[in-house]
């Protein structure tokens, strides 16, 4: 399949807060992040909170991710792009995965 959204490690995410203006091209990465969360995200305990800003709003898109170890990551979708966002989230998730493997 072409153009699939990048798969992410989402086991360690507890909360996602987003705000974006869909009429701004800057919100593309934030929207793609929301679509890359798995279908059972809410059932496995991730709280997803989204606000759609009005068309005239010039506020930059907000993407706030909270992890199981309490870390809060605020990412700028405009600068990073969806690949950058996934990379950052995966980096932290892999560190948490290592910790979880060591403690088991």
């Amino acid at each position: 399949m072409h153009n699939q959204p990048p798969t992410m490690i989402t086991r360690f995410i507890t909360e996602v807060v987003t705000k974006f203006n869909p009429f701004s091209a800057r919100s593309r990465a934030t929207r793609l992040f929301l679509s890359s969360l798995p279908p059972d995200a809410r059932q496995t305990g991730i709280t997803i909170n989204n606000t759609v800003l009005p068309r005239t709003s010039t506020a930059p898109p907000l993407l706030l991710i909270k992890f199981k170890d309490g870390k809060e990551m605020k990412l700028d979708g405009e600068q990073l792009g969806i690949k950058g966002i996934v990379e950052e989230v995966d980096r932290h998730s892999r560190a948490l995965q290592k910790q979880a493997d060591l403690t088991d």
């Binding site: 869909p22 009429f23 091209a25 593309r28 929207r31 929301l34 679509s35 969360l37 279908p39 059932q43």
Partner: protein, 345 residues
């Protein structure tokens, strides 16, 4: 190797030719010419020159397409351009990994909400407008192909290329492709405004007619925002609060809409949904506003002179009362004087 399909190409060609020429009545000529071929060479060749295969002729050695219609991009593009040209009201939703069961639940709730919209009443001429509740569909679209469809609808005008010879002007033609590749995309055009919306997985809700009542029902169900568009309560609609329906609805985000070629955001759509009485109600509101505006203008213009008249009238009555009192006093004083005069003399 012999052909896999057991029918000769020649017989299928002749069958196809017969189909095209039978209406013209040349079949009789064909039969005659084939019998007397030695003498009628010239006429046969001229007849054959005017015979041609139909445009939809498919050689029998080509197998039918194995692709499903919704995976054939050309077919999808044509269906999207037809949709865009015929649908006045379109809502765009981002759908984030909604499962099949959740889609079924969402569509069920949508149907239930639309069934509750009051049916249209007969107009002044006795005809009842079509009830559009059954024709409102929520479909997932291929975003990129939809974007190309939007470009074609916006920037390609088939009539502008009529004069050109040998140029097909349908939506899949090379002419259309060249036109949209070269077209400058203005930010204020409809495509320029919608293009930021076309990111990620998208679903489209189509209305065959602009009906604020139905739009309000849809917004209350799929993108509720109290107090104007409240979600149905648990008592009135327990199916809405079913976990599968809820999780599906949470994954749908209303990002915008297109009404009659104009692009609206969530607030704009809520405004349109809040119009009372539909388009007829809007028209009657406009008429009453225009009439009262005329009245207000005349009142304002006359108001000054009216005010002056009222003030003067008031002063006159005041003066009359005052002078009447004064006259009374004078007459009384005159009477007293007379009396005094009389008594004195």
């Amino acid at each position: 190797m012999p052909p896999r399909i057991h029918c000769s190409a020649r017989s299928s060609v002749s069958r196809a030719l017969q189909r095209t020429t039978s209406s013209q009545g040349l079949a009789a000529f064909l039969l005659q010419s084939s019998k007397n071929s030695s003498r009628h060479y010239a006429s046969a060749s001229s007849l054959l020159g005017s015979l041609r295969l139909p445009d939809n002729y498919i050689p029998p050695t080509q197998p039918p397409s194995a692709r499903k219609p919704d995976q054939r991009k050309a077919q999808l593009l044509r269906s999207y351009t037809a949709l865009l040209r015929s649908t006045p009201l379109i809502l765009f939703f981002q759908h984030n990994n909604v499962t099949f069961v959740e889609w079924a639940a969402v569509r069920r709730e949508l149907r239930a909400a639309l069934a509750k919209v009051p049916a249209p009443i007969a107009g002044p001429d006795g005809r009842v407008p079509v009830d559009i509740s059954e024709s409102i569909e929520l479909q997932v679209i291929r975003t990129r192909i939809f974007g190309i469809g939007l470009k074609i609808v916006e920037f390609f005008d088939a009539d502008a290329h009529k004069g050109q010879s040998n140029a097909y002007t349908h939506d899949l033609s090379a002419t259309a492709y060249e036109t949209i590749s070269k077209a400058p995309i203005d930010e204020n055009s409809m495509y320029g405004q919608i293009s930021p919306l076309l990111a990620g997985p998208l679903a489209v809700l189509t209305f065959p007619a602009v009906s604020p009542a139905h739009l309000a029902a849809v917004i209350s169900t799929l993108a509720p925002s109290p107090p104007a568009f409240p979600a149905p309560s648990r008592k009135k609609n327990p199916g809405y609060h079913d976990p599968i329906a809820q999780s599906g609805l949470q994954k749908l985000i209303l990002v915008g809409g297109r009404i009659d070629g104009k692009v609206f955001d969530q607030e704009g759509l809520r405004w349109v949904g809040g119009i009372e009485g539909g388009l007829d109600g809007l028209r009657s509101q406009l008429i009453s506003m225009l009439q009262s505006a005329g009245l207000g203008l005349t009142t304002a213009l006359e108001g000054q002179s009216k005010g002056l008249w009222l003030a003067l009238e008031g002063r006159r009555t005041q003066l009359e009362e005052g002078s009447g009192g004064a006259k009374k006093e004078e007459s009384e004083a005159a009477k007293e004087e007379k009396k005094e005069g009389e008594t004195s003399t």
